[in-house]
Structures are given as structure tokens and as C-alpha cells.
């Protein structure tokens, strides 16, 4: 007897119940609505109607993406009881394709962090070793896919928050070009950097979900009217001449030797596939973190001003006056990293400092973007490690915020430049922790980039490996 959608969804919730007490991926379960959707899809299937491309597939959704069922907390006590009145654009697209959201996943609060330890509720654990972080900010989504609780998940990127957890969790994570996917319903952190991203266990999974969520949305004025190619079809088209760019700036000090070895081995695989390797230079790479953290915190200070206890979210119990209403509500609702970033952003935008910090960083951003565009005119993709180290231990980086920021060194450039980037598994450390390979491509070249990533997976098997705890 063929399995029904209801069977699949029921099995998904059983699996979540079995593994989530260890992993803590889930902030909210959507059992009632998911089973109702499953029942409806099974009935439609009986009529012989053609199912959508994601028909009946369970999907996890990062909790900073608005869903009109359950809560949308952004991992923050500020929004612990917030019920979104609408669905994000990407959610509408998934629903139209027949996907079934089964849970909202944990994240660093308001997407600010690289380990999911900044969640206002609890940290998520890496399925490969529960003493280690899953990465962040989309740690819950990454862990859920890595543990095979769901085949697909949505995350979001502002400075690597899909690619880095994908690398730490041994799965595939995609950041589309800025403007490729509508941000309507993605709670804003850094509006010129934010993009909804995709997690899957293989590149065809990324291509399938991207094809569903990409495309123009008049409700997001930064979404681009460019036509959406068939990303799945182009995966298997002949790859033709292949040029891989290597930037020495991404292979310098601070790169873990096991990560370096795995990425160099991956480059050799591409050579055997006939790739030409070109050295490219990204001369402003060392300024990426400073530039990124000035701009993202400036934008965050503006975007998070709306959380003032007036219309939604936490309100302080006994405000002394209307200023206190804002100040106390925000002090009580936000965690320390969010406060730190709001303060930093406020400082760099304040009178007397705006030119020296914010305007300067905007100009450095131009130079960083130009570096990428120039480099990518000489190659199809730039290949690098996704992260300088494998997943670190819980608590290892929480004492010094700057040390945590420096982990983003290979990721933020793509967000600043607005280019697409992907992380795929390329090996494991001796201790059994995953290692991620990053590819970056020119604006709107996701199709070519995914084709090149897929070619690697056709001749390697790292992406088939599952965490030991999930063998059952």
C-alpha cells in the first residue's frame, strides 16, 4: 500500500518527538495544522489532481519567518507570544507547492549570532556531537535537517547564518542572490543583507526548494523581476568548461589544518572533473568583518526600533512614563547580544560618528563588492572553506563577542556583495565533525553554482553520511 501524506507527516512528528529532547531544534510544533493539510492533500490526491513539486513534504521554518499558525518568536522573549497575522511570501509559495510546515525552529535571537546560543529560550545541539553548537543563527533548521527530522528547512542569512550551520551540521545550505527571494514576512535584521535561505541534504533538494520560493514579489521592493530559471533541470546539463577561483585570502592564518586538507581535497576532485583553477584576489577581504558589523548593526538598530511595547511584543508591567514604556520593555524583552548590536548600531549612526563609521563602511562595501565582481569575471565560482574551524563547543566562544564575530570571516563577503553562495559537505574531522565547502558565484548565477556543486556530489559521498545518533 502506498504511503499517504498523512502517514509521512505522522512519522515526521514521531521522529521529532524521539530526537528533539536531545537536540532542541524546535520552538513550536504545528501538529494540528500539518495533519489537517496532510488529510486535505490525501483527499486531493484521490481525485487524481496533479500534485505540486513539494507535495506532502514536511518542512521546518526558522522562527523569524512569519507563519499565521502558531507563534513567530524570532527566538526572543520580546515576541514569545507573538502570533503573526500573515504568512511570509516564501511560506505562501511553499504552501501552494504542497509543502507542509511541521515546526518553527530555534535561532539566535533576531538572527543575531553564530551558534544559536543567543536564543532567548535554549541552545540547540549539534546532531553530530551534542556538546557542540549547530552553528547559527539558523541552528535549529540546520540540526533538524541533519538529524533527518525533515528533508528541507528554511533559514535566513544576514552574514552567513545558513551556510555556517550547514557546514557545522554536515548538510547543504544555500544563500540566494540578494533580491532573488522575497523578504516579505522575514523579520528584518539587516535589510540590505537579509535573504531567506534553504537547507537540504543534497543539491537537488536546494534547487527544488529555491525554484519554489524564488521570484518577484511586489510586496518586497528589493525583490527583483528577473525570471526564475529551472534550477533542477540545469543541474544535469553538461557542465562544459569549468573555471574555479581560489583566493589566497581565504586560506591564510586561522584556518584549521583538517578543514584546509578537506577543502584542498575537494579542489582536487574538481580538477579530476576537468576544472581549470585560477588564482583570484579579494584585496579587501580582511576588512569584511569590520564592514559587516558596522552595517548590519546600524540597520538592526533601525529595524528593531519597532519593538517598543506599543503594538505587539513584550510590554513592561509598570511603566513610569512613555519613555520608560519603551526603555523597560526593550530592556526586559531583548537578550544581551541584541542589546549590544542595537547599541553598536546606534553609535555608528549617531551624530559625530556617522561619517567615520557608517559612511566609511558603505564605501568599503563598494570595494568589497567590486573585488567579488572582478574575481568572478575570471571564474565560474570562487571555492573556499565555509568556516575556519569545525563546530566549536557550547560555551567556548560566548565570553568574547568579537571572537564570535571573527568566525564569520569567509561568509559575510557574499552578503555584503549580494552574491549567491552555497555550502556543501566535503569531509569530516578525525573527531567526526563535518567540514563544509563553500562556493560563491556572480549575482543571479545560482543555476550555474548549483550545477557545479551537484557535480561534486555526483562523485563523492560525504552528503550521504548521517549523524550516528540518527542511524535508526
Amino acid at each position: 500500500m502506498a504511503a499517504t501524506v498523512t502517514d509521512g507527516i505522522t512519522a515526521t512528528f514521531e521522529r521529532i518527538a524521539r530526537f528533539d529532547p536531545l537536540l532542541h531544534c524546535v520552538l513550536g510544533l504545528l501538529e494540528a495544522s500539518a495533519l489537517e493539510s496532510a488529510k486535505r492533500l490525501d483527499e486531493i490526491r484521490q481525485t487524481g489532481a496533479v500534485p505540486g513539486p513539494l507535495n506532502g513534504m514536511p518542512i521546518a521554518i526558522k522562527d523569524n519567518i512569519c507563519l499565521d499558525v502558531g507563534m513567530t518568536t524570532c527566538g526572543s522573549r520580546m515576541l514569545a507570544n507573538f502570533r503573526s497575522p500573515y504568512n511570509a511570501h516564501v511560506v505562501e509559495r511553499l504552501l501552494a507547492a504542497g509543502a507542509i510546515p511541521v515546526c518553527k525552529t530555534n535561532l539566535d535571537e533576531f538572527a543575531m549570532g553564530g551558534s544559536t546560543e543567543n536564543s532567548g529560550f535554549f541552545p540547540t545541539r549539534n546532531p553530530w556531537n551534542p556538546d557542540h553548537v549547530p552553528g547559527g543563527s539558523s541552528g535549529g533548521s540546520a540540526a533538524a535537517v541533519a538529524a533527518r527530522l525533515v528533508p528541507y528547512a528554511l533559514g535566513s542569512e544576514t552574514g552567513g547564518s545558513v551556510r555556517q550551520p550547514a557546514a557545522f551540521c554536515g548538510i547543504c545550505g544555500l544563500k540566494p542572490s540578494y533580491g532573488r527571494v522575497s523578504r516579505y514576512g522575514l523579520v528584518a535584521f539587516g535589510s540590505s543583507l537579509d535573504q531567506v535561505g534553504v537547507f537540504a541534504t543534497d543539491v537537488p533538494g536546494l534547487a527544488t526548494v529555491l525554484g519554489v520560493i524564488a521570484g518577484h514579489d511586489p510586496r518586497d521592493s528589493t525583490s527583483v523581476a528577473a525570471p526564475v530559471p529551472d534550477f533542477v533541470r540545469t543541474l544535469n546539463e553538461p557542465i562544459g568548461p569549468l573555471r574555479i577561483g581560489i583566493a589566497p585570502e581565504y586560506f591564510g592564518a586561522g584556518l584549521d589544518p583538517e578543514v584546509r586538507a578537506a577543502v584542498e581535497a575537494a579542489l582536487e576532485v574538481y580538477r579530476t572533473l576537468g576544472a581549470e583553477v585560477h588564482e583570484v584576489r579579494l584585496p579587501h577581504a580582511s576588512y569584511t568583518i569590520a564592514c559587516y558589523y558596522i552595517l548590519c548593526t546600524a540597520e538592526a538598530s533601525s529595524n528593531l526600533a519597532r519593538f517598543d511595547g506599543v503594538r505587539y511584543g513584550h510590554r513592561t508591567a509598570r511603566p513610569a512614563d512613555y519613555i520608560d514604556l519603551y526603555s523597560a520593555s526593550r530592556a526586559e524583552g531583548f537578550g544581551p547580544e541584541v542589546k549590544r548590536r542595537i547599541m553598536l548600531g546606534t553609535y555608528v549612526l549617531s551624530s559625530g560618528y556617522y561619517d567615520a563609521y557608517y559612511l566609511k563602511a558603505l564605501k568599503v562595501r563598494t570595494l568589497i563588492r567590486n573585488d567579488f565582481l572582478a574575481a568572478l569575471s575570471h571564474c565560474d565560482v570562487i571555492l573556499s572553506p565555509t568556516t575556519p574551524t569545525p563546530a566549536f563547543r557550547l560555551g567556548e566562544k560566548t565570553a568574547d563577542p568579537l571572537q564570535m564575530y571573527l568566525m564569520d570571516i569567509y561568509n559575510c563577503g557574499a552578503n555584503l556583495a549580494g552574491i549567491p553562495a552555497v555550502s556543501i559537505p566535503c569531509g569530516f574531522t578525525r573527531a567526526g565533525l563535518p567540514i563544509g565547502l563553500q562556493l560563491m558565484a556572480a549575482p543571479f548565477a545560482e543555476g550555474r553554482m548549483l550545477q557545479i556543486a551537484h557535480a561534486y556530489q555526483q562523485v563523492t559521498d560525504h552528503h550521504f553520511r548521517k549523524p550516528p545518533i540518527c542511524a535508526g
Partner: protein
Amino acid sequence: MPGGIDEQQVRHIAHLARLRLSDAEVVQFGGQLGAILEYMKQLNEVDTAGVEPTAHPLPVHSVFREDEPADPLGVARVLANAPEAAGAYFKVPKVLEQGSA
């Protein structure tokens, strides 16, 4: 680029950001922000003479729509998450008779 951040500046920034901080937080954030801002100083090394700023990476400008009313969310949904509401209004403490913010 100016460096360091003293307690008075931290309190000023916290006020601009409408974030009430404890005395301990003022000290802690002051130290952390100071270290981060020190790191940011390296952008001074970059020659940006004649470089245009990039506010966002797309060559997209002035995206407009026709000035036609769309379906509103509706008062019920808008007020659904309100900490305090009265009729069709969000309810807040008195705003008038305050000193300059």
C-alpha cells in the same frame, strides 16, 4: 576615527536606543563596545577617496506602486497582539506633559 567609549557615552547611546541599562550593564557594554570599536578602526587603512557608498547591492531604485488602497489587515488582526487595546486603539501611558526626550 574616534576610539574608546566612556560611561557617559554608553548612557547617551542607551537613551537614544531607548534601552534601560543597569549600572553593571553600562560597565560591561562599555568594555565590549570599546573593544569592538577598536577593531573597527582598521577601516581607516582603506583608501575610499572617490568611492561611492553602497547602501544595498541591487541596481534597483525608486520602486513604486500605484497609489490605490489594498485590502487592509483589519482592526481585529492589527490589535490581536496588542498588550493593551481599547476599541480600535492601542492603549499606552500618557505622552503629554513630558520633558524633552
